[in-house]
């Protein structure tokens, strides 16, 4: 039986427990582009303030031309601010040594087209002063991670856009950066690649890395970001945690396995009595397309169908995992914690194969009664799409898939693969 009633632990909550360290600090940032004669042409960024804290996934959201890419480029020292103050790790973005701690994936592939995949990573590794052995090791691991090890000798100019994104991502991580700046990281990637990138972002965040994500794809941002700023016309229009921005404090949602007609009727009776017919909405949730697509591909992969392009990314590169000595279960828990920040925690009290329905119904009714009392109830952050009521099979299926993904991300042995363990709560 699965019930979803919780308040996710947000980055904000965690910051209450630990002193906040700002990785990026932006005050009054303004960028005016000028023409040849020095006359103002466009005010791309206008008096912007924000901080990015250590270990968070920070999103820069906004429509095209809103100023988010200009902000990113100022953070990287590629553009110089017209006005305002900008610090990255306490230094100017043009401070050369600080750049050793930053990884950057631009929105387009700006790599040398005549270098092959391995040479590209080796070249960027050299710029970080990595020694030959380290460069070779990291190149191997990163190519494996982004699924390009089979095409390591092909020049980047022959790559598809998705493959170029993958090699771009790999170069951004060659230095094991403390701050990763990703500009539209999922642009040009297939759904598997998108999911892998998002999983990677979460895995990096789980290691305490800070990630700045600039995107106009709301689903990407929603899936991974702790906090976001929303740009429009060069100004920040809104900023805060996703909970703060997205929660509807005057609405509750209850997720249960599929209810029998009788139980549903009783539940509705209680609700009608308390809040009236017109404010209640009941539906059957669908899983999102991304999950469905990934399941289909996973099944095909199990049948060992061949592909000539990039293969699915493998384990996160060993040097990026960092906490490889942490027990596998604990690592999974850490990533799961991140994964569920903006989603309801699924409390699975059932044992596979056993479904004591009568007991389940009892518990459900009790919980519903508790929730419909006048006292404030725990609200959930909205699930991206169509999450309302889930069947136990669906929940278990999704959890199993997520757990398998995490196991592969973290590279640890996982009993789940043999069907012997349960997902963590």
């Amino acid at each position: 039986m699965t019930t979803a009633v919780s308040t996710p632990e947000t980055a904000e909550n965690k910051q209450d427990q630990n002193p906040v360290e700002n990785i990026v600090s932006v005050r009054g940032l303004t960028k005016v582009f000028r023409d040849f004669w020095g006359r103002p042409k466009a005010r791309a960024v206008n008096d912007v303030d924000f901080d990015v804290r250590k270990g968070e996934v920070f999103g820069l959201l906004g429509p095209n031309g809103s100023g988010k890419s200009t902000t990113v480029k100022m953070l990287l020292g590629l553009l110089y601010p017209t006005k305002g103050h900008l610090e990255v790790f306490g230094h100017s973005p043009r401070h050369v040594a600080t750049k050793a701690r930053i990884g950057y994936l631009p929105e387009e592939s700006y790599l040398y087209k005549y270098l092959d995949a391995a040479e590209t990573l080796d070249f960027f590794g050299s710029l970080f002063q990595l020694n030959k052995k380290e460069r070779e090791q990291r190149t191997e691991q990163l190519l494996e991670m982004v699924g390009l090890s089979q095409v390591r000798s092909r020049v980047v100019g022959e790559f598809s856009k998705g493959m170029q994104r993958r090699i771009g991502l790999a170069q951004a991580l060659i230095n094991d950066p403390d701050l990763v700046i990703l500009d539209e990281p999922t642009s040009g990637l297939d759904p598997i690649g998108c999911r892998e990138v998002k999983d990677l972002i979460l895995a990096l965040a789980a290691r305490g890395k800070t990630v700045i994500l600039s995107s106009h794809l709301l689903a990407d941002v929603e899936d991974v970001c702790d906090r976001v700023v929303i740009y429009y016309g060069g100004r920040i229009q809104a900023q805060g945690t996703l909970n703060e921005l997205l929660a509807k404090p005057d609405t509750s949602r209850i997720t249960t396995p599929l209810l029998t007609k009788d139980v549903m009727q009783r539940v509705l009776d209680i609700l009608r009595k308390e809040i009236g017919e017109e404010k209640i909405k009941v539906d059957v949730p669908t899983q999102n397309l991304e999950n469905y697509f990934l399941n289909v591909v996973e099944q095909a992969r199990e049948k060992e169908e061949m592909t000539s392009g990039a293969t699915s990314g493998s384990r996160v590169a060993e040097y990026l995992r960092g906490d490889a000595d942490m027990p596998s279960a604990k690592r999974q828990e850490k990533v799961l914690e991140r994964l569920t920040l903006s989603e309801p925690v699924e409390i699975d009290e059932s044992i596979p194969g056993e479904e004591p329905l009568a007991e389940e119904e009892k518990v459900l009714v009790e919980k519903l009664e508790q929730l419909t009392r006048p006292e404030p109830v725990q609200t959930t952050a909205a699930e991206p799409a169509g999450s309302g009521v889930q069947t136990p099979e669906q929940s278990r299926g999704e959890l199993k898939a997520a757990d398998e993904k995490l196991s592969s991300l973290l590279g640890g042995s996982n009993g789940d693969k043999t069907g012997n363990s349960e997902p963590k709560e």
């Binding site: 990287l76 020292g77 590629l78 040594a97 950057y104 387009e108 960027f124 050299s126 970080f128």
Partner: protein, 466 residues
Amino acid sequence: MKGITAIAWVTLKAAFHFRLFYLLLFLLLLTVGALPLVIKHDGSAQGLIQITLTYTLGFVTVLLGFATLWIACGTLAKDIEDCQMQMIVVKPVSRAQIWLGKWLGIMGLNAVLLSLAGCSIYGMLHFRAKSLPLDQQAYLRDKVLVARGVSKLPIEDFQEEMDLAIEERIKETIRRDPEAALRMDMDFLRQQVTTEVRAFYEQVSPNGAGKGWPFQLTSDVDSIRDKTLFIRTKFNSAQLSDEGKVFNLVWGIGVPQTPEYVERPMDLTEDTYHEIPIPPNSFDDQGRLMITCFNMSETAILFPLDGGIEILYPKGGFAMNFVKGLLMILLWMGLFAAIGLMTAGALSFPVASFTALAILFIGLSSGVMSTAVEDGTIFGYNHEQGAPKARWIDYLVIPMFRFFLYLIQAVRVFSPIDSLSLGQEIPALQVGQAFLQVGVGLCGGLALVGIFLFQRRELATVQVVQ
């Protein structure tokens, strides 16, 4: 350093990937192989050298120079325009390192190409020399395919003498006509006096008058004992109408009235280099040699103080001399690369290329600048009416021209192709001086300007849609 070498490697790799290396190599080898076939020499050793060494090496230098300028503009400007530079500057390498890495990459390419072209010229020279008559082969062996030391006249300082002469001239004018003294054009006077003083040192009067020059040869006198030395001379007639005229001169070698003293009468044309053999051991134990010239013609002749008369003596082999010459050409390439990178760091590719070429043409048109500097005006000097008053623009342009000329002279003074063609030794000291003057001084200065401009440039203002 790893960053610099990585960028240099990528620059080199690009040259190979875009077939630029192969194209340039083909053109260079074509020059070396085809030029002597297209331009036939007159069968003499000098003709062979003129084509196989002077023309070929000159052409290789020009071709490589333009290619270097273009590659330097392209490698930086295109990287900025195609945004690859954004990926590099966000890494922990300074822009100075990026600039130097690019420069080193271009120089690596130049070093390889120049070595290959040099080897083929060297091989071609020896191969074609076998087809010459025996006496010409001997000439080649003795006078060209060697490295000969040069003993020059000490440079005289006329300043004091000139100041005295000017003072004397002013005093005389005041005595004669005080008002005329007030109207005197001092620039014109200075020019006139300079010509007169120089002529005193350079001129050999006609009708049997003679002039002697003492030379100090190498300190290692034993190394030139029993060997043939040469007087190399080039003179001009004091009358402009004598162009191409033959002059009867008698060369006195050694101290007159001593048993070693010999005289060599010769008919020589003006404005041409001549080499006159000196019998072995004509110098004394301290390596001093006295040369006298008697002008038997009816016109005065002038031996320019710089290069009018020199003594050549054997000093080393041609191969090492050739390598030193190539090294100096490589330094020129370094200068071209620095010019290209300097413009590309601040401008787009087409504008940078145009600017770099313009700088090169300014360098080549130094004659116009030096005339303007001599006249003190860019509007031309009227010798009959006197110089026009300098306009305000002259105050701005002339110092600038003077500065440019100084820079151009700093490069031009090192001319390895002439030295190699004349079988003249390129001293290691000269290579070192060229390295300091061109490699460190000029390239360093251009690098500082280039890095400053590159540092100031915002690299994300250009967006490419792929």
